[in-house]
C-alpha cells in the first residue's frame, strides 16, 4: 500500500501523543516547552497533509500552518522569558515548585 493521507495523519497522531506525554510528565519547564513545540509541529504535519491531499490547489492548510508557526514563535519567546524570570526568583525551573500564584 502506497503512502497516503492516513500515513501522515498517523505520524502526526504519534508525535502529538508523545508531546502530550512529555507535557504531563516532565518537571523541567524548558522540556515542557519543547514538548509543546513537538505537539504544534504534529498539528502542522496534519494541516499540510490535508492541504496536499484534500485541497491541493487551494493551499488552505499551508496558510494555516504558517500562522501556527508564527504563533509558536511568539509562544516560545514569551515562554522562555517567563521561565527565566521565575528562575531568577526561585533559583529553580522545576514546575513542582512553581506555586507562586497558589493562594
Amino acid at each position: 500500500m502506497s503512502v497516503g493521507l492516513e500515513h501522515y495523519l498517523i505520524l502526526s497522531v504519534v508525535l502529538f501523543s508523545i508531546g502530550l506525554y512529555g507535557v504531563i510528565v516532565k518537571r523541567n519547564a524548558v522540556v515542557i516547552l519543547m514538548c509543546i513545540e513537538i505537539m504544534l509541529n504534529a498539528v502542522n504535519i496534519s494541516l499540510v497533509a490535508f492541504s496536499r491531499y484534500v485541497v491541493p490547489l487551494m493551499l488552505t492548510g499551508q496558510i494555516f500552518a504558517i500562522f501556527v508557526i508564527a504563533v509558536a514563535a511568539a509562544e516560545a519567546a514569551v515562554g522562555i522569558a517567563i521561565i527565566i524570570t521565575i528562575y531568577r526568583n526561585r533559583e529553580s525551573i522545576n514546575v513542582d515548585k512553581f506555586d507562586i500564584t497558589k493562594w
Partner: protein, 161 residues
Amino acid sequence: MFDIVFWVLAIVSICAALAVILLRDVFRAALSLVLLFLTIAGIYISLHADFLAVVQILVYVGAISILIIVGIMLTRDVHYGNPSGKLRIPALVVGILLFIVLAYSVVNTIWVISPQPPLEPTTATLGSKLFSQGGYLLTVEITAVLLLTAILGAIVLIRDK
C-alpha cells in the same frame, strides 16, 4: 522511492521525539528536538510544500531551537537533568488512549482525496492568497501585532528592575 523516503523520515522523527522525552540530559534532548524539526522539514518537502519547508528550517531550526538552547543555558539546572514527575503512569495511559482514539478515527474515516496533482512551486500562490483582496490580509496584520506584543512582553519580563 517516495515511500522509502516517507518511512525513513517518519521513523527518524518518531525516534527523535522519543529521545526528547527519554534522554536524561536536557541539552541532548534539545539537540534531538533540532533533528525532529529537520525531519519535519523533510516531511513538508515530501508533501510538496517547498515554501513551508524553508520556513520550518528558518524559524524552527534557526530561531526557536536557539531560543530553547539559550533558555537551557541561562537556567542552569542541567545537573538536575530531565526527570519524570509522579504522573508517569497516568500520563502513559492518557497518551496511549489519545493515540488509540485518534488513530481509530483516522483509519475509519473515509477521506475525500482529490485526484488533482499538487501545486508547485507554492510560493507565488501562497503570497497571492495571503496578501490579495479577499485573502488572509487581516490575519497577517493581526499576526504582526501578535509578534510585536510577544517581543515587547518578553523584553518587559526579562528586564532588570
